[in-house]
Symmetry: C2
Subunit: 249 residues, 2 copies
DNA sequence: ACCTGAACACCGTTCAAGT
DNA sequence: ACCTGAACACCGTTCAAGT
């Protein structure tokens, strides 16, 4: 935490770069949330005047795109496309969500932003490779690529936004809102009353994994090529579930 | 547009209510976007001092929740749960997204916010009725309810946010970003190069309908009860596709 | 009880001036 | 070429004063 300095001397010439500014922004967002992400606080954290950032970014939105690219870079760390397209898409979706959950404030700002940077291009190409290896062609390949890419983006972004709002309102418990339904009026809302106990016990991880499995098994049903792996597809997909479904073709 | 008044006299006593303030906010957001949604402009639009709003809402976030509830109210207009759970869930998801697309600025602010108002409770109960009628019970019913509710919320919110950003950056064409991939380097990104022509031709409506159909057909595969309707399930689901799948059980 | 308006502590961004 | 700092036009919110 070198956010404030008692005495600040003029910074040496090339000490501010796009990367250091973006990294410092990300640290600031991680530590103090969206509310603390102002140009004034960023300048202080950099040991520079707040307006020095404008030499490197045209405006705050431009800086946010650089932060979004940092997140994508983190998604790419350890992401290795494999021959099985199911595994590749599932791995990408999980990594995307993990990184956004690790950086909820940055994730909420980066959500659905298109950076057009090399990190994004690499991810797009890897996902398209998976879609093509599933046997889809042309327009259909583009469609299913968009479906899985948007799915991963929207869920990661939405969960990050939720966590970001949550920590700002200091409620921390991710399932707290569902507990409010436990005291619902059974006459006005009979169906809610039936599952009132269960609603609070379903967590975001399980919801995400279920949605992911539904999506991928649906695509597998429609894909010309089954994937080339013989085992299960991760935590939520048991072998006899996912692979048996694919072997119908 | 009565946003500005040359001369403003003191407002009569009960002329400001939660509802009129929320409705004026929604109109302001629709007409001028998120950037124009300030307490100062809201006050002017109401013909009142900007601080008068604080008599009715504790802060701006409280007001945003009221706007979110207005959107849910609009989702409920014409929403009639039917005996077929597939149709009910599909109808809700489409209505949710339609309303958010009609109000992109408000939708981007309302995204993933929980209002706990009666409109929300009614929607939750209707979706739970659908899930239960599919034959799911207890914890599993709660899980599949959350999957479809979150799906609808995240896609509606993300598309609204995208449209909201879009109109702020004045690019309007929803597929413009995909065109940039048309000039991609085929050596560095070989898979992208293969489908470069097709990427720009896939629209958000088609992506959404495909994702919805994948999700619902996946749930139908796992549901104890097929739904009780004999026809197709809307624009994207042809009879021989959706209903044939369900009749496997 | 409800609306007003001055005041406060912030914002993002611009631009002429420094080094 | 790069960083500084005063300045500008905004923000959301508080609170004592009006009616």
């Amino acid at each position: 935490m070198s956010e404030s300095r008692a005495e600040r001397s003029r910074l040496p010439r090339g000490s501010l770069t796009k990367r250091t500014i973006a990294e410092t922004s990300l640290r600031l967002l991680d530590e103090h949330g969206v509310a603390a992400f102002s140009m004034a606080r960023l300048g202080r954290a950099l040991g520079a005047d707040q307006t020095a950032v404008y030499r490197h970014f045209s405006d705050k939105d431009d800086l946010i795109l650089a932060i979004a690219d940092l997140l994508l870079e983190e998604v790419l760390v350890g992401f290795v496309p494999v021959s099985c397209w199911w595994q590749t898409v599932a791995d990408f979706s999980r990594r995307m969500r993990s990184v956004y959950k690790l950086h909820p404030a940055a994730g909420s700002l980066a959500a659905i932003r298109i950076t057009r940077g090399p990190n994004e291009m690499r991810l797009v190409d890897a996902l398209l490779a998976a879609t093509l290896s599933a046997g889809f062609e042309g327009r259909e390949a583009a469609l299913y690529y968009r479906v899985v890419a948007d799915f991963a983006m929207y869920w990661a972004g939405s969960h990050a936004t939720y966590l970001s709002l949550d920590s700002e309102h200091q409620m921390s418990d991710e399932a707290s809102w569902t507990r409010e339904y436990a005291i619902v009026d059974p006459v006005a809302y009979p169906n809610t009353a039936i599952v009132r106990q269960d609603l609070g016990e379903v967590g975001f991880d399980e919801i995400f994994e279920t949605a992911l499995e539904l999506l991928l098994s649906g695509i597998a049903d429609r894909a010309p090529n089954p994937c080339r792996c013989d085992e299960g597809h991760g935590p939520a997909a048991s072998p006899d579930d996912a692979c048996a479904r694919r072997s119908r073709h």
